[in-house]
Structures are given as C-alpha cells and as structure tokens.
C-alpha cells in the first residue's frame, strides 16, 4: 500500500464461490485515487467476478471489498452516485437514440455533464438520431463510455473499453481516459488487451485461476522483469542441455533462433559462447530485448499453470 494515500478500491482476502466452483480464491490488492488500475488475466481468471464484486453485483463469499471506503452492497446508494460503469457489451435499450439515452442517464445524477457536449466529445454528434441497434460496434463502445461518464463519477469501471474500436476510436477513448485521470478520476480497467493496459494503466493486477499473480505499478513490473536474450546460430540443437548449462530456460524460436529467459549480462554471454564453442556451433546474432507487458503476462500465467 502507498504510504499516506487512502486506496480508492480495496480488495481484502476476497473469495467468491459459484456453487462448488471457487472463482476467486482469497485475493487482496488496492487501487489508488486518480490512477488507472488494470485487471488482466485469461478467460476464467476471475477478473470480471472481482470487478462485479466492486460494483456491488456480487456478494463476496468471504473477505471484503470497498470503494472509497464504502461497502458496494450495504452502501450501494451512496456508491452509485459516485461511480460509472461501462459494460463489455449491451446495456442500452435497443430502440433508444444516443442523445436520448444520455439525457435519460443525466437525469439520474445531481450534477451531470451536458449530454450534447459529451456526445460530441466521444465523436457521436453526427449519430444522435440513430438507434442503439443500428450503431456499429465501435460507436456502441463510445456511447457506452459516455454513459459511464455522464454523472461525473469519481470512479469508473471499464470492461474491455477498446473492444471493437477502430484506431481513431481507440485514440479518442484513450485520450478521454487520460484527460479524466489527470483531473483525478479513478479508473478500474478489466481487459484482455495488453497493449491497451500498457498504454493506460498506472497499476497492473494480473490474475490467473482466481489468484493474483502480479500486483505492481507498471514501471516496477516492467523493471522487475528484465530483458530476454535472443541469439541465432548456424545450426539447430536441443535446448535442454544449454538450459542446464546456463541455469536459465532456453526456448527454440525456430530457424536457428533461440531465446534465453535472462538478460544479456557478461556472465551469461561468456557461458553461452563457451557452450557454443564446446559444441562447435557458430554464433550468428545476439541481442537483448526489454520484456513488454504481454511477455510478462504470458510468463506469469504460464508459470501458474
């Protein structure tokens, strides 16, 4: 936990069971005000269940969740006035028009944004007369985001905000999220899209099979998972002997290209070249590469599996 900053969301020893199936297995993490906290994980990781517990849809089987210190179920009325929710899909009357639904949702809040201005801000002013069912996937996503923002919330839960968006739409939505974050709005982002998470998130929670396998600020997470070493050779070989020799996992990428799960420090390079020389294999290229969130995600979720 960050010293001196009260978390915006707190998940403490959360367990959620669906009948005999334990979807979330006693996880704990925090998200902080004015930050984008991304929940990442493969299908069935438990991230949607966790987000729905924070939104007040799901009652924890044990443990607790709070949002700004409020219990999402017991204090639901106080919380909904401060939160916006963007569902992954749907959630809008099929026959309603964008401006109508924004005006409807604006009427629920004491100090809403201007519906016309917001519609323009999400690039849908020209579609104000179309019905929801005739909007494209990307247009629906933009409107869905606008509905989450209309009440000027302190916290916004976004489920796959980039799904179905074209490049222009993605830029627009990401820009809007960044602007609001800089104004102090807290975001909780559930996504499969690791590029989106790397672009937007301040903090990353990686989940797998109902457990948290990584919980860190994104810079810390990237720094904690240093570069890989890639090299090529003039002939192919079985990797297990080299793995044993180096003490790191070596993976064949095909075509005489290999990946060592360790940074290219002098000790590693010396050990590698010694092994290659002993086995009369010529070294082609050798370089190190920084791990992206995607590689870290795959590595962490693979380790847990």
């Amino acid at each position: 936990m960050k010293l001196g900053v009260a978390p915006a969301i707190s998940v403490d020893s959360l367990v959620v069971d669906y009948g005999d199936t334990r979807a979330v297995k006693g996880i704990s993490f925090h998200g902080f005000p004015g930050q984008v906290t991304a929940l990442l994980g493969p299908n069935g990781a438990g991230k949607t269940t966790t987000i729905e517990a924070l939104e007040g849809y799901i009652k924890p089987s044990s443990g607790s969740v709070t949002v700004f210190g409020l219990n999402p179920i017991r204090d639901h009325k106080a919380l909904v006035a401060r939160m916006g929710v963007m569902l992954q899909s749907g959630g809008v009357y099929p026959g309603i028009r964008p401006l109508e639904v924004l005006r409807l949702f604006a009427s629920y809040y004491p100090n809403p944004l201007n519906p016309e201005t917001l519609l323009e801000r999400v690039g849908l002013a020209h579609r104000s007369k179309a019905t929801w069912r005739t909007l494209s996937g990307g247009e629906k996503q933009r409107l869905s985001l606008a509905l989450a923002l209309i009440g000027q919330p302190d916290i916004v839960f976004l489920d796959e905000p980039g799904a179905g968006l074209d490049v222009e739409g993605r830029h627009l939505v990401h820009g809007l999220i960044r602007t609001l974050r800089s104004e102090g709005v807290t975001f909780v982002l559930g996504t499969h899209d690791l590029v989106e998470a790397e672009t937007l998130a301040d903090r990353v929670i990686i989940m797998n099979r109902g457990l948290v396998v990584a919980d860190a600020d994104i810079e810390v997470l990237l720094a904690d998972h240093p570069a890989d070493t890639q090299f090529s050779t003039n002939s192919t070989f079985e990797t297990h002997e080299l793995s044993r020799h180096l003490g790191h996992q070596v993976e064949s990428l095909g075509g005489g290209n290999y990946l060592i799960a360790a940074p290219p420090d002098p000790v590693l390079i010396a050990a590698l070249t010694a092994w290659l020389a002993a086995n009369q294999i010529s070294l082609g290229t050798l370089h190190g590469s920084r791990l992206g969130l995607e590689e870290i995600f795959l590595r962490l979720t693979k380790e847990e599996t």
Binding site: G56, V80, G84, L87, V92, Y93, I96, L104
Partner: protein, 241 residues
Amino acid sequence: MNALRTQISTELKLNLRNGEQLLLTLGIPVLLLTFFSLVDVLPVPEQVDNSVDYLAPGILALAVLSSAFTGLAIATGFERQYGVLKRLGTTPLGRPRLLIAKTATVIAIELIQLLVLLPLALALGWSPSIHPLPLVGAVVLATIAFAGVALLLAGTLPGLVVLAAANAVYLVLLLFSDIIIPLDGIPGILATLSGLLPSTAFAQLVRASLAGGWGPTHAWVTLSIWALVSPALASKFFRWQ
C-alpha cells in the same frame, strides 16, 4: 422527480416505437374485437343479444392484461437479456423509481388503448352503461396487480424464459378468465381455479362497471389481494442481473 419523469417519458417513447409491443397492446385487441363482433363464432351468454356487448368489456380487460402483464414482462425480460437492467443497477435510479416508472408507462399506454378501443366498440354497435368509479378503480388495481406479476417474472427469470412464460400465461388467461369465453363454458374445476385469477376478477368488474354496476365483492377482494401481494414480491425479489 426529474429522473422519474424522464424515465417515464423514455419508456413510453420506446414502447410506442416498438412494433411487436404495438401489435400486442393494440393490434390483437382491435383484431379480436372486430373479428368476433362481426363473425358469430364465439359462444356468448344467453341474455346477451349482441355479441359486441359481451366482447367489448372482455377486450378492454384483455387490453389492460396485454400492456400491464404480457407487454411489460416481455419488454423487461428483454431489458435483462440486453444488460439494460444490469447497467441501470449501477446508477442512482434505484428499484422503486424504475418499478413506478414502468407502472406509470403502462397506465399511459392503457389510456391510448382506451382511446382506440372505445370508439371502435361503439362503432361496432356496443351500447354500454358506464359506471366510471368502479371502472377506474378496477383498472388501477388490475394494472398494479398485473404489473407486479410481470416485474416479478422479469426480475427473477432469464429473458427468454420470461418471453415463453409471459406468452403462455397470456394465452391461458385469455381462454380461462371470462374475457372472450364465458366461465360457464369452462369445466367445473377450471372455473373454480379461474375465480382466483386476477384476470377473472378484473374481467368481472369491468363487465359490471360497463353495465352500470359495481360487480361482485369477491372479485374486488381477489383483485385487491393480487394488487397488494404481487408488487411487494416484485420489489423484494427483483434483481438487476
């Protein structure tokens, strides 16, 4: 207040834009009233000379049933299917305001139905002797009772199950509630059970008030119990997702 007013006007607009809903709430009652008034195929009680005199009160009851029960249940069931209820559950709208808005919208649609069906029945030769007070009372009680059952169904069952259940119940109520087929044409045990239905009580009260009377006490008691119990159950068990 602004939220409730906007919710009601939006729900009403969406209802009037929905072709299937219009078919159910206006198309079917108009068709049944016109067809069975002009084509003499339905059994009517012996004391009735003109079939429209029996049919018109029943069709008015059917219209209320269509909008307050079937239409409302199906529309709300689909809102669950489309995730609309889920999203509304994360807004400050709240369950009571949503349920009140939906019931108020049904009453507005009933007024439209009345404006269409009443002149049509009169044009077909109906000569009622309307007693407004019991008529309005019965319509209000029936609307609350039917809407309560509709919202209980739609608020607890999956969307497609609601669609099937609402249509099945509509058909049963249409045939066994003294709406278009007199109760004396129904086998004994069914007729007894039918007496417990809100639709039967409502149809009896509508017939009585359109003949200048108040209707049987047991029908008022039955309908009042349904109007108290069903919205209370809907309010308790209605789920957003």
